[in-house]
Symmetry: C2
Subunit: 344 residues, 2 copies
DNA sequence: CTGTTAGCGCTTTCAG
DNA sequence: CTGAAAGCGCTAACAG
């Protein structure tokens, strides 16, 4: 393979091939490819033609090596398969649109060990910033993030000791609000359905919020079913509600760690001929599409998943642009609100 | 900024910094970082220590420039927010695990124009292979893919003129099978609910299959509701079934382009006091989690979304490894099967 | 097992 | 507006 590409090999053409064909230098081609740089329109036209004839596509890896800007932003979410987090990912990509920044997305399956691996894998690509879900990381993961020298945004949570910037809300407070809202409605005997381990930080915070709110109200917070490895599925929600009704048949309302398990519980109740909310009320968390559409429609907590992503990405681009670190607010609190529907 | 990094600046340390600190050459550091290369354990230990002290992370962009292997695989799906496609994405990442290949994921929002942009954006990163959803692309997109000189895998479909390799199934045949299965069960008056435009290729193929099967059976294929821009939502499914029952009150079974719209239709029927399947039967497509869990449980077509991703990634890695192009089978057909449940 | 040299394809920087 | 030289951080290839 000669250095001079003859266009007949399968080797991809380089910028030099384009330059030669257009009768200019590579530098001029580089300029023509970048917005807002001054190239005479005649030259630009010749270059464009050469690019099309050759089927040239810019090699950005090479470019970023010399410009020291990769154009990557990394984001790590627990699951790609959960519409709450994929809404956040959508928010990020949408906010990145037009900035020339491209998203490098990874998911951890709710494992901090996997998160640590991902952090390293992504940092090898030299992203210009990184967006994480939650504030729990391995010590090594945390150290890598701190030393990376790029803006770090933790989302979906309010970490006690943020690494850098935060866009999130308190999952505990959100669950407390749900409990209070339902208590005000007259419910007294509350149950909670969630996953078993502490793997899902946000899940355990919601459970803690549940307990806190009931204790404050002087109500029992014992009715807690922990079932299945988070994230718990619809089917597991169905099984959990059965356990709950066996152990505590007088439960008035079952709060679930997410709408998905709540939906499973709701359907299972119907299958068993229980009327919701008359025999048992059910509420979820997350305001997934399903909550608004199921029958009866589900009471839940809306947490603006898309907005979390959008704001995280905005904060990131602002921080990247504002050379001086720390320009945007360090913490952005995103809203949550209880959506009362027919299931309670 | 001097070339020699003193560790006190915010500049990220380079391999040379590590080498100097460990008293070896950069090349040895490079070797120590790569699996299966021979470095004495004493040297390796010094290097490892230097890496930890410095918090060094390999710069893969630089590495790929010289090794001419980026370690990227690109995948483009219609929506990240749809569990069918995110299952495919999961299948891809899982199959890529341990290969040293990293996924570059993008979504098109069901727009071929957006797909074209994404193809170019991804090719700029010089992926070693690319996985697409469906066989419809813009002419320019197709040309770029053909000229990229990397394996291309089209999935979720059986394109008439594949660019390269295919892992998919015929959406039309799958829908025909559903119609036949239900006709065998005695249903005669079939309705179809799907989106309006041809944006969603797989959606229109399913509709075409619906029509074909009914014509073959000598049954009417007129009851078609086209409602909403694909992908149609649960809520739109709910509205569509209402229209259908207004226009053709004698419809016996409503087939929906996906489980999501089918679920919306199912819930709406319950809301209106219609018994499913007695008053009207409903079937979906995709076998989403919700189909197995809703009440009544939904009849649908399972299409092995995860397996499509897994097999596509396997075919890709095989093709990348087998230097000689075209080693694996060009077309892998993935299975589909009708899952009969309570809704029909 | 380790080092040296060269260069991947582009952009920065400086000249013209 | 355009070009030439240098080099980004790493690894291939070869030498020892």
């Amino acid at each position: 393979m000669t250095k001079i590409n003859d266009g007949k090999t399968t080797e991809a053409p380089t910028m030099n091939d384009v330059a030669r064909r257009a009768g200019v230098s590579a530098m001029t081609v580089s300029r023509a490819l970048k917005e807002g740089s001054h190239v005479s329109s005649a030259t630009r036209e010749r270059i464009t033609r050469a690019i099309n004839e050759l089927g040239y596509v810019l090699d950005q890896s090479a470019g970023s090596l010399s410009s020291r800007r990769t154009g990557f932003v990394a984001a790590i979410i627990p699951s790609i398969n959960n519409s709450n987090f994929s809404d956040t990912a959508r928010g990020i990509t949408d906010a990145l649109e037009g900035t020339g920044l491209q998203l490098l997305l990874g998911y951890t399956n709710y494992s901090v060990e996997r998160e640590e691996e991902l952090i390293e894998a992504m940092l090898r690509r030299r992203p210009e910033g990184i967006i994480l879900t939650g504030g729990s990381h391995t010590p090594k993961g945390r150290r890598m993030l701190e030393q990376a020298g790029i803006p770090v945004i933790e989302t979906w949570d309010r970490p006690a000791q943020p690494i850098d910037k935060v866009v999130g809300f308190s999952n505990g407070e959100a669950m407390e609000l749900l409990v209070e809202t339902l208590a005000r409605k007259g419910y007294r005997r509350f149950g909670y359905i969630g996953g078993v381990t502490a793997r899902d930080t946000r899940g355990s915070q919601r459970r803690a919020g549940f307990v806190r709110a009931l204790e404050r109200l002087g109500l029992s917070s014992d009715r807690v079913i922990s079932f299945g490895v988070p994230p718990i599925s619809m089917e597991q929600g169905a099984q959990a509600v059965v356990s709950m009704l066996e152990r505590w048949p007088d439960t008035q309302v079952a709060l679930c760690v997410s709408d998905l398990s709540a939906f499973g519980a709701l359907m299972e109740c119907q299958r068993r001929g229980l009327k919701v909310p008359q025999d048992i009320a059910i509420a979820g968390f997350g305001d997934y599409e399903i909550a608004a559409c199921c029958h009866p429609r589900m009471t839940t907590v809306n947490v603006d998943c898309y907005g979390i992503g959008r704001q995280a990405a905005l904060k990131l681009t602002q921080t990247i642009q504002a050379q001086s670190p720390g320009t945007p607010e360090p913490v952005t609190l995103t809203g949550f609100r209880v959506i009362e529907r027919e299931s309670t």
